[in-house]
């Protein structure tokens, strides 16, 4: 176990952008139509949870999935998270992405299937992100199973209380903003490889 270092937001953003792009390119064979956008903004907290409201991301309905990151299994069991990632996919785009899975034979008109698929996208993106962090010499994080919602997460999401900023990344497909990822991440310790 080593020292904690402040994350460079740009590094988080660049790494996460790469993970999102690779996931959709490999799974759905789609390419983003413009460079993703990145903003840092204040976390809105309510009742010790991070407020999540999907409708404001696209001015319309969306599918959402989130999961938490933990430093280790003990923290996972104690529900003491070090990070959270929320994936939002605009409703019509989510249907298109399920169809774009191509060989899957999934029913793109079944909301439950679309929700499950969003959860799988979230899981794969987060898995890649943690692998990337590990390859940069950071601790190998534990991730929770993704939870899935439509439009809103009424109870909000757990987040690391040490953090005040969240990073918002916006992705464009078919010339429209259709995918947004919010991430909050506490500084992760460096460890010896």
């Amino acid at each position: 176990m080593g020292r904690k270092e402040e994350f460079d937001p740009q590094v988080i953003a660049t790494t996460l952008m790469g993970c999102v792009q690779e996931t959709f390119e490999k799974m759905c064979h789609v390419s983003f139509s413009q460079t993703p956008e990145f903003h840092a903004k204040e976390i809105i907290e309510y009742d010790s949870r991070m407020r999540i409201f999907g409708l404001e991301k696209f001015n319309g309905p969306c599918y959402m999935s989130f999961l938490n990151f933990y430093f280790n299994q003990k923290d996972f069991e104690a529900k003491k998270c070090c990070g959270v990632m929320v994936l939002y996919i605009e409703e019509e785009a989510a249907e298109k992405l399920v169809r774009a899975l191509g060989q899957s034979g999934l029913d793109a008109e079944d909301p439950e299937i679309i929700l499950d698929t969003c959860g799988e996208f979230c899981n794969v993106i987060a898995g890649q992100f943690k692998n990337e962090l590990r390859s940069f010499g950071y601790m190998d994080l534990v991730i929770s199973a993704p939870l899935k919602y439509h439009n809103i997460i009424p109870e909000g999401v757990d987040f690391p209380y040490s953090e005040h900023k969240q990073y918002e990344l916006m992705f464009y497909l078919w010339k429209q903003k259709v995918v947004v990822v919010d991430m909050v991440m506490a500084p992760v310790p460096h460890v010896t490889q």
Partner: protein
């Protein structure tokens, strides 16, 4: 013809894997399990017929790592080829999986393309008959 066992807690992921295998031209019967416990039960009931296991790592109840470790300890099933299909893609995790089951036949990090899955699975299935 040997059966294929797909182990993943995501129904969507199982369906995607199955469709890729079918579209690659393999008509083998496909068995499904949502965690390591279900996989052990399924394997116990079909151990003479299963020709390959495709297994996720992170699953509830019993993880993929625990499952492949358990399989390696039972002579009747230890030689069944297992391919890990998982988001756990670091060199350390791959080494951990190989240590848990020395007969590990392949490792496919998610996300994967249909071609990546086909290229790994096809020779194993062809050899299994």
């Amino acid at each position: 013809m040997k059966k294929i066992l797909v182990v993943d807690d995501s129904g969507v992921q199982r369906k995607m894997i199955i469709q890729i295998i079918k579209k690659a031209g393999f008509d083998n019967e496909i068995l499904e399990a949502a965690d390591g416990n279900q996989a052990i039960e399924t394997l116990a009931a079909n151990f003479q017929d299963v020709g390959i296991v495709l297994c996720d790592w992170n699953m509830p109840n019993m993880s993929g790592l625990e499952f492949i470790e358990a399989v390696a300890k039972v002579p009747a099933v230890a030689s069944i080829p297992i391919v890990m299909v998982t988001t756990e893609g670091t060199d350390e995790k791959i080494a951990e999986a190989k240590a848990a089951n020395p007969n590990l036949a392949g490792y496919i990090p998610k996300p994967f393309t249909p071609d990546q899955l086909k290229e790994t699975v096809a020779p194993i299935l062809s050899a299994a008959g």
